[in-house]
């Protein structure tokens, strides 16, 4: 009798229970971060300068994206300017880096980065590596950064500098930026840091649906219109004027070895990538 009672008791208990759930699968794997990414820069002497730059130049002007602010606080901007100018690295202006190129004003770097609405894991193309600073800022947010520089000495120097500073995921190419980087397309975001007479259609073509392209459009040595080009989910392309800036011309070709075209030309303008008008 006892075993029948126990069985009946167990059966009664079982009837009041939820049906047994199948076993939980193991938790899905989060996308793997490349080793050593994002690079950390601790202990340099310019941490306070970067904090000052963020709190005095960027936040008051409306930069609010935390990932952008974090990137600007982290990337050692002084490592991207000539030694003689390191004392000015965090000032609110562009600085010359040689070869008639400049590193953009910090606000411009932050503002253009913020407009791209980058998330970790996105793929971004930069035209106009220059010193590599902008690429480094992008690479603090997402590891998948591809950058093109038309001037070979700058491309080589930027590549070496980025590697030394731990930005090993950034790929630098010496090439004609007008045609983008077909092999790695499409991109979630594209940034051009040199003035272009028009929006290069190859770059629009290499933009993913839902992607954003930002570039200064206008005469090379006057004021350009900073423009955001967005491709929606249906592939329709629209542009929006943001504000006035000044950038160096989108010059370039690789000479006669490759089929020519205009390419990226560095970062910022001699006069400065000023955020005029914003």
């Amino acid at each position: 009798m006892r075993w029948r009672a126990a069985f009946l008791l167990l059966a009664a208990l079982a009837c009041g229970q939820e049906p047994a759930k199948p076993p939980e699968p193991p938790p899905s794997q989060a996308p793997e971060r490349p080793p050593g990414w994002p690079p950390q820069h601790k202990g340099d002497l310019f941490g306070k300068n970067r904090e000052w730059m963020v709190t005095k130049q960027l936040v008051p002007r409306g930069i609010s994206d935390e990932s952008v602010l974090r990137a600007m606080r982290t990337v050692p901007r002084h490592s991207f300017v000539p030694v003689a100018l390191r004392g000015h690295a965090y000032e609110d202006r562009p600085l010359p880096i040689g070869h008639d190129q400049t590193i953009s004003q910090p606000f411009i770097v932050a503002s253009m980065t913020e407009e791209l609405r980058l998330k970790e894991g996105m793929k971004v193309l930069e035209i106009g590596t220059g010193s590599g600073y902008q690429a480094a800022v992008l690479a603090q947010i997402t590891p998948h950064v591809f950058t093109i520089e038309i001037k070979e000495p700058l491309a080589i120097a930027a590549r070496d500098r980025l590697r030394e500073l731990g930005y090993r995921t950034v790929q630098v190419r010496h090439a004609d930026g007008y045609y983008g980087w077909k092999e790695e397309a499409p991109f979630d975001a594209i940034m051009v840091t040199a003035a272009a007479p028009h929006v290069p259609p190859p770059l629009v073509e290499q933009l993913k649906q839902g992607g954003r392209l930002i570039l200064p459009v206008g005469p090379p040595l006057g004021t350009q219109d900073l423009r955001l080009v967005a491709k929606d989910e249906k592939g329709k392309v629209r542009s929006r004027s943001l504000y006035d800036v000044r950038f160096v011309p989108l010059t370039g070709s690789l000479g006669e070895e490759k089929k020519g075209g205009a390419g990226g030309g560095g970062e910022g303008a001699k006069e400065g990538g000023e955020g005029a008008g914003k």
Binding site: P201, P220, V237, S239, S241, Y243, S253, E271
Partner: protein
């Protein structure tokens, strides 16, 4: 002595024109005009120097100044080359202002020396200055007529060596033996020694585009034209964001270093905004007239541009003529007239872009007149073009990208089929229809910060349509907004070319005032001739500049206009000064003739030159007549007043004409001569 004055005057005018060309190539046009305007103050300074150093008033001074001037021309170019001036930085780099002053001072020196020689000759002939003044005017006229011919032979710096050699040679006519030997040696050496030139700014299109090859260069009075194959070039104004074809393999054309257009690699044209008139019509018509260069060169039956060199290097069938003059004289109609508006400086006369010009273009076009222009932020040219088109016809079709506008003027309302074609064209390529207003898409492709809508009264730019009386399409500056110059972010929005013109005038006035202030305060001899000679200097230059602006609208081109006006004025006034002793009421005659002469200016160069000579004949009288009545110690001051006033008036005339109108400038000159006639 008169031969020396003639030769020196010719050399100086040739120098002035060559310097304007040299500086326009090296820098930008408004910088060139600024530097030359102030450099010419050297003539005013010469008068003051002569007044303060009366011992210079000796016959030997004239040929000595001629030789010294000849020897200073090359060093002035060398010294200028050492000044690292970049006009693009004047908005925020104070050091650039100092460099600008340095350039002006450098170029002022040779003009001061030449001015001293001419002023000494006039002072020595003060009792009967007419023939010497005539030699000065005839020489200047000869220099101005020779300039376009010589500039066609080679770079302007090279032409300058002949001006210097001519000046050196003039000393043969009047100098002592030693000086004559130096004169001959200089005249022989100057044409053959290595001659300096100013390099083109590295920021100009031609200098900054890399890997240029097959470069061909031609020089002319209208500019230096370069043609080059530039792999880096992707010239495609109004290109669709989604164009499947990119401009490649283009040959670029540059004028004074600025990119003027490109030929070759035209596969992308159907995806540019400039294709709008062709899509509207549904075909490429047979008779397309292109005014100036444009991407659709190969579609044109005829291209009209004032610059023969540009047409030759573009390799297109062309007519070297001012497009407006061509339209006014065109006999056969064309199916479509097209004009791609270039970006010009504020003081550039733009006869095609006036209300009368657009009317003339539409009259010649059977189907339509299409114009395209760049759009800036805030919009200026686009708004002005639409406002002008609206005054010409009520049938306008227009579309835009973010930075380009195309406007097609029609004789009649577009048909339903034409509308369908335009809408499809715009949808395919991501363009936004602008006119008719109800053709616009509910969700535009291009969102800009300031739309192309008719703005309110306090718009920061002057967008009133240009007219033949005020043919300055690119004059957007508003005097009521002058305080914007000092606002934050001003470097972005200010019309710097116009500001440069204002600065030139202010510098001329300030320097002139500084030169004259102390003498005027201390010396009665300095005060005596002031009003009359300032009025004479201003009146002559204002009238001459007004007639030049009018001739730019009426005649075949800038070279014809300059030849007719400068040649006519200088020869006519020279003849008048020869007869100055016998003529009365000359100033009154000028006051009476000034405005009618302006209005009846014919379109023939020769007839225009005759008209200018006729109006200028009495203009040659008042100056020598007034000079002959002065006390000897007042003569140099009179020359100083006259020199400074002439320069200020030359700088102020374009401002007056573009801010009010050209007839107003001519009227102001007439009023000055009327005042002179009353004293």
């Amino acid at each position: 002595m008169k031969a020396t004055v003639f030769g020196l005057s010719a050399a100086v005018l040739l120098h002035e024109i060559c310097l304007l060309r040299i500086l326009s190539i090296a820098y930008w046009h408004h910088a060139a005009a600024l530097v030359v305007a102030v450099a010419l103050l050297g003539f005013g300074v010469a008068g003051t120097v002569l007044a303060l150093a009366p011992r210079l008033k000796a016959p030997a001074t004239v040929p000595l100044c001629a030789v010294l001037y000849a020897l200073l021309v090359a060093p002035s170019l060398l010294a200028a080359g050492a000044v690292d001036f970049n006009i693009l930085e004047v908005g925020w780099e104070p050091a650039q202002w100092l460099r600008l002053l340095a350039l002006e001072a450098i170029f002022l020196v040779p003009f001061l020396v030449a001015g001293l020689g001419i002023n000494v000759a006039l002072a020595l002939a003060a009792e009967r200055p007419g023939p010497t003044y005539a030699a000065n005017l005839f020489g200047s006229g000869a220099g101005s007529l020779a300039a376009p011919l010589l500039l066609a032979l080679g770079p302007p710096a090279g032409v300058l060596r002949y001006a210097a050699a001519l000046a050196a040679l003039t000393a043969l006519a009047a100098g002592p033996r030693t000086l004559r030997l130096v004169s001959v040696a200089a005249a022989a050496a100057l044409p053959v020694v290595p001659w300096p030139d100013l390099p083109m700014s590295p920021f100009k299109d031609f200098a900054s585009l890399p890997d240029k090859r097959e470069i061909v260069t031609r020089h002319g009075s209208l500019g230096r034209v370069d043609r080059a194959v530039v792999p880096a070039l992707h010239y495609a104004p109004g290109l669709s964001l989604t164009s499947p074809v990119f401009p490649e393999g283009q040959t670029a054309l540059f004028v004074d270093g600025h990119l003027a257009g490109a030929i070759g690699g035209a596969g992308h044209l159907p995806h540019t905004l400039g294709d709008l008139p062709y899509r509207l019509l549904g075909r490429v018509p047979e008779r397309v007239l292109l005014l100036g260069l444009g991407p659709d060169l190969l579609r044109a039956m005829l291209v009209v541009d004032p610059d023969r060199n540009l047409l030759d290097l573009a390799g297109v069938p062309g007519k070297a003529e001012e497009p407006r003059a061509f339209l006014d004289r065109a006999e056969a109609p064309y199916d479509l007239v097209v004009h791609h508006v270039p970006s010009l400086h504020a003081a550039a006369e733009t006869p095609v872009l006036t209300v009368e010009g657009l009317t003339a273009g539409l009259a010649v076009a059977r189907e339509g007149f299409a114009l395209s222009c760049a759009l800036t932020t805030p919009p200026r040219a686009g708004l002005k073009l639409l406002a002008t088109a609206d005054l010409v016809t009520s049938h306008v079709v227009a579309a835009r990208t973010a930075d380009r506008l195309c406007v097609v003027l029609l004789h009649r309302a577009p048909t339903a089929e034409e509308k369908a074609r335009v809408i499809a064209f715009c949808e395919e390529n991501g363009f936004d229809p602008v006119r008719p207003a109800d053709w616009g898409f509910p969700e535009p492709f291009h969102i800009t910060r300031t739309p192309l809508a008719a703005p309110g009264g306090d718009y920061p730019y002057d967008i009133r349509p240009a007219t033949d009386a005020r043919p300055y399409f690119f004059k957007f500056f508003r005097w009521s907004r002058i305080t914007d110059l000092f606002a934050e972010g001003a470097t972005t929005f200010v019309e710097w070319a116009y500001v440069a013109m204002i600065v030139a005038l202010l510098e001329a006035l300030l320097l002139g005032a500084l030169l004259m202030a102390a003498p005027v305060a201390l010396s009665r001899a300095a005060r005596a001739p002031a009003l009359r000679f300032v009025a004479l200097g201003c009146g002559f230059m204002l009238l001459e500049m007004a007639y030049l602006a009018r001739a730019m609208v009426r005649l075949e081109g800038p070279a014809a206009a300059a030849a007719a006006v400068f040649g006519g004025f200088l020869v006519g006034s020279g003849l008048g000064s020869l007869c100055s002793a016998r003529l009365r009421h000359a100033a009154l005659a000028v006051a009476v003739l000034a405005l009618p002469g302006y209005w009846i200016m014919p379109s023939s160069t020769i007839l225009a030159a005759i008209l200018c000579a006729a109006v200028a004949f009495p203009m040659g009288v008042p100056f020598p007549e007034a000079l002959s009545r002065l006390r000897p110690e007042s003569v140099p001051w009179a020359l100083a007043w006259n020199g400074c006033a002439s320069v200020a008036a030359a700088a102020g005339a374009p401002l007056l004409s573009s801010s009010v109108s050209i007839p107003f400038t001519a009227g102001a000159a007439a009023l000055l001569y009327l005042l002179i006639s009353r004293r």
